[in-house]
């Protein structure tokens, strides 16, 4: 049901970890629902210099987290804010029908992290 690309991303996820003293942190989901994603960002001159994640969830949750961190890294805040679930799904070679909801989850968490950064820095 999962694409080869998604499974590859799931098995070898990039940017797993925590950024100490991150400029922004976002977390969505809760253990009772079976999915939690945390995303950490480091911002410099309006650019996402570093993005890391931790995730508890299904293969799709982990793969989309990994993908969204890679897509965001090096981008401007503006660009990163506009990464859509379609972008992520496409980059992973598609998601199974029942998992499309999932693909919104990682970009949303990224947006929460960016908003956290903006709030903290009163942008």
């Amino acid at each position: 049901m999962y694409s080869k690309k998604l499974l590859e991303e799931f098995t070898n996820p990039k940017n797993v970890g925590i950024i100490e003293n991150a400029d922004g942190v976002g977390q969505l989901g809760n253990p009772a629902d079976g999915d939690v994603i945390t995303i950490y960002i480091k911002v410099k001159n309006g650019i996402l210099e570093d993005v890391k994640f931790k995730a508890f969830g299904c293969a799709a949750a982990i793969a989309t987290s990994s993908m969204v961190t890679q897509m965001a890294k090096g981008r401007t805040i503006e660009e990163a804010m506009h990464i859509t679930k379609e972008d992520v799904a496409e980059a992973l070679g598609g998601l199974p029908p029942g998992k499309m909801d999932c693909s919104n989850f990682a970009p949303d968490t990224l947006r929460v992290a960016i908003e956290d950064y903006q709030k903290k820095n009163k942008v």
């Binding site: 049901m1 079976g34 994603i37 995730a55 949750a61 029942g98």
Partner: protein, 387 residues
């Protein structure tokens, strides 16, 4: 990559002896059992013989066996058939919260049609609350349907006790024995049941066939109308190769029950012990003793079951999270919710169901791969640090 299959409660491969028994009925002895000519007679004889074989393994009479298309149909037929037949006597049904969807969804459908259904809860080990069940019985109770063994956590239910509880009350007792047949004794008289559902593909028989045991004297309204097959209770041209294979699978399972069970029990107990020894924060779901010899269902704190399953699959190991039927949905299993292992464990369950051909080497390989996978996922988890 050598693959290791530990999902025998989802389905089993067909035993070579079963396939061998089936083969002549596809192209040579292919007649319709209702036909009067010699081709029909060959089929009709195979049907009779299969019926005797199946009956014999259950301690039943051949007239008490109705062949169906599988476990789901047997469950639907038993529950709806009895409910519709007895609805003038009463409209109350008792079942449990951990039944298979084939029973639960059927009961829900009957609720929509005006029947009242009591769902008996289970304790932390997944055993139905006998006192609750007894207290639920009333004048209008016509049917009790409690599964013999649970498909997710493997707990064995006290069917004999239930049958004693309702003796003489005129209540029909049905049990879904899809998971127990071939793994623990299922003599219908020892169990004291009136109806019992079986599915062939869980016991090394072919898919698409099963049976409903129906005690002589029990009457139900058939689900399907048509020709007079199966004494009018289940019309449709009989699936002779399937039925022959199913009967053969029943016979083999019955003959080897003790041997195979002991083997699987041994693997099961080692596997549980090894997992608990190697992986911290692992928890057995279901009862330690009153469980199927082949069921290992464990939860791992802060790990999500589906990703664990996928990581193991990448290494060639086939397991399941809960029942196969709900593997595609993301909701927590209704069975795990019922025994409530706690919020940190409920999404992290994995079901290993052993087969007669699994070995201790395979168990060791799987435990090692499992440990690796759990560590990997915990490192990724936002909660990983806590443990």
């Amino acid at each position: 990559m050598k693959r290791i299959y530990m999902d025998h409660s989802a389905t089993t491969h067909v035993d070579p002896k079963v396939l061998e028994a089936m083969l002549p009925y596809f192209a040579e002895k292919f007649g319709n059992a209702s036909s009067l000519h010699s081709y029909g007679q060959e089929a009709s004889e195979a049907l009779s013989l299969s019926r005797e074989q199946v009956a014999q393994t259950l301690g039943a009479q051949p007239t008490e066996i109705i062949f169906t298309s599988g476990g789901t149909e047997s469950d639907n037929m038993a529950i709806k058939g009895a409910a519709y037949m007895c609805s003038s006597k009463g409209r109350h049904i008792i079942t449990s919260v951990i039944e298979h969807p084939a029973v639960l969804r059927t009961c829900e459908q009957l609720e929509k049609e005006g029947f009242e259904v009591t769902y008996v809860p289970v304790d932390r080990d997944g055993i139905v609350d006998l006192q609750f069940l007894e207290d639920s019985i009333k004048e209008e109770t016509i049917l009790i349907s409690i599964m013999h063994a649970n498909n997710e956590i493997g707990t064995i239910q006290p069917i004999t006790e239930i049958s004693k509880l309702i003796e003489g009350k005129g209540i029909i007792l049905h049990t879904d024995a899809v998971q127990s047949v071939g793994k623990i004794p299922t003599d219908v008289n020892e169990l004291g049941v009136d109806m019992l559902s079986i599915s062939s593909h869980k016991i090394y028989g072919p898919k698409g066939v099963g049976a409903l045991y129906m005690r002589d004297g029990i009457n139900i309204l058939p689900l399907l109308q048509g020709g007079g097959h199966e004494r009018g209770l289940r019309p449709g041209t009989e699936n002779i190769p399937g039925i022959v294979g199913f009967a053969k699978a029943m016979s083999i399972a019955h003959e080897n029950l003790e041997h195979d069970s002991r083997h699987m029990e041994h693997l099961r107990d080692s596997m549980i012990k090894k997992i608990c020894g190697k992986i911290p924060h692992a928890k057995l779901n279901g009862h330690e003793k009153k469980r199927l010899p082949n069921n290992v269902n464990m939860s791992f704190k802060y790990v999500e079951g589906e990703s664990l399953l996928m990581l193991l699959d990448m290494k060639g190991v086939a397991v399941s999270t809960g029942s196969a039927c709900s593997s595609k949905s993301q909701k927590a299993s209704h069975v795990l919710s019922a025994i409530d292992p706690g919020v940190d464990y409920i999404h992290g369950s994995l079901r290993f169901t052993l087969g007669k051909e699994n070995t201790m080497e395979e168990v060791d390989i799987v435990v090692d791969l499992l440990e690796e996978a759990v560590i990997k996922l915990r490192q990724m988890s936002p909660f990983g640090e806590d443990i």
